[in-house]
Subunit: 198 residues, 2 copies
């Protein structure tokens, strides 16, 4: 027996979602058809809406429906600091801390030469232009502490240094509530090296 | 900062997929917008196609684009045996064994009173009608060996018995290549109870 082609096409289309293999795609397709046709309809129209309406902010590069996103357009934010993050999800996490009142630049990725992601793909030229607007006094690099995130931070720091722009990196160390016994030795070693005077 | 509402709507819509929570929905939305807009477009149209074209086979209840699916319409199949499975995925698994040449009935679920899934939701009346077509000689119950699958099989067997229709259950026991040392004791106990004469 042949699976109907429309069903095959749906299963194949669901595989464009990250982390969805053939088995989950099949399960999702059956679930939508059998238990949640309304949800499937909403998903289809939400996808079309998103594809037509969502674009990148001209200033910080995050997703928005406007030319310049609400955060960049907010005069109450501190326009002297620019925090560089990898993804819009990282931006949201940072906002949830309520510890930062400046502006952002979203790379939409990290340097990863093996995947073909170089300086152009992370919009380095736009970031450098953005940092030279005459207002920015400090660029805070808040990429992940993965190998690729670290390499990205160092590459950007070098580029900024050659333009005479000051950059900093968010701190590494033990997490709040962390116990020495349970932390990995790399983190503990870094926490020792980067200790602060009290 | 507010996430743009179209983006929020997409993230919310993705959560109708089984196994997708808020974090994965966000990751999926960002991935589609940033890396795979073509995939998102295909997914939207595949969903619309599936919703408009796919229906249930009048005979076996599986998903199809036809009145009666190709398998039910195939005269080369053995029209005297009817294999009852929970889902179309189970039907496909059974077909892949090449060990069965009869027809199917797909329950599209299993009895689960706590989830509001009773005899009506698994289309028991249609199954009983189907089994009384005058051709069917044996109904093979191939629901899962979970608590709910077992209960479903017993309920269907009782209903068939009251109509004088013979039913059987697929065998329980050690898997092919299975070792006694590694099998759970419930399976081993059942394999002992259901031993066959050689």
């Amino acid at each position: 027996m042949k699976t109907p082609t429309t069903l095959e096409a749906l299963i194949q289309a669901l595989r464009c979602l990250p982390g969805v293999g053939p088995k989950s795609a099949q399960r999702m397709a059956y679930h939508l058809l059998q238990r949640d046709q309304a949800g499937a309809g909403h998903l289809a129209s939400a996808l079309v809406d998103a594809l037509t309406r969502i674009r990148h902010c001209n200033r910080c590069n995050t997703f928005t429906e406007l030319e310049v996103c609400e955060l960049c357009a907010n005069p109450a934010r501190d326009h002297r600091t620019l925090c560089v993050v990898e993804t819009p999800a990282d931006l949201l996490m940072m906002e949830q801390t309520l510890a930062y009142g400046g502006l952002y630049f979203v790379l939409m990725g990290r340097l990863s030469p093996l995947d073909g992601i170089g300086p152009r793909e992370i919009h380095l030229d736009r970031l450098l232009n953005r940092a030279q607007d005459g207002m920015i006094e400090e660029v805070i690099l808040a990429t992940n502490f993965t190998v690729e995130g670290e390499a990205t931070a160092h590459y950007i720091a070098e580029s900024l240094r050659s333009l005479g722009i000051r950059s900093s990196r968010i701190a590494r160390g033990l997490p709040v509530g962390g116990e020495l016994e349970n932390v990995d030795s790399g983190t503990l070693a870094q926490a020792m090296v980067e200790r602060r005077a009290l």
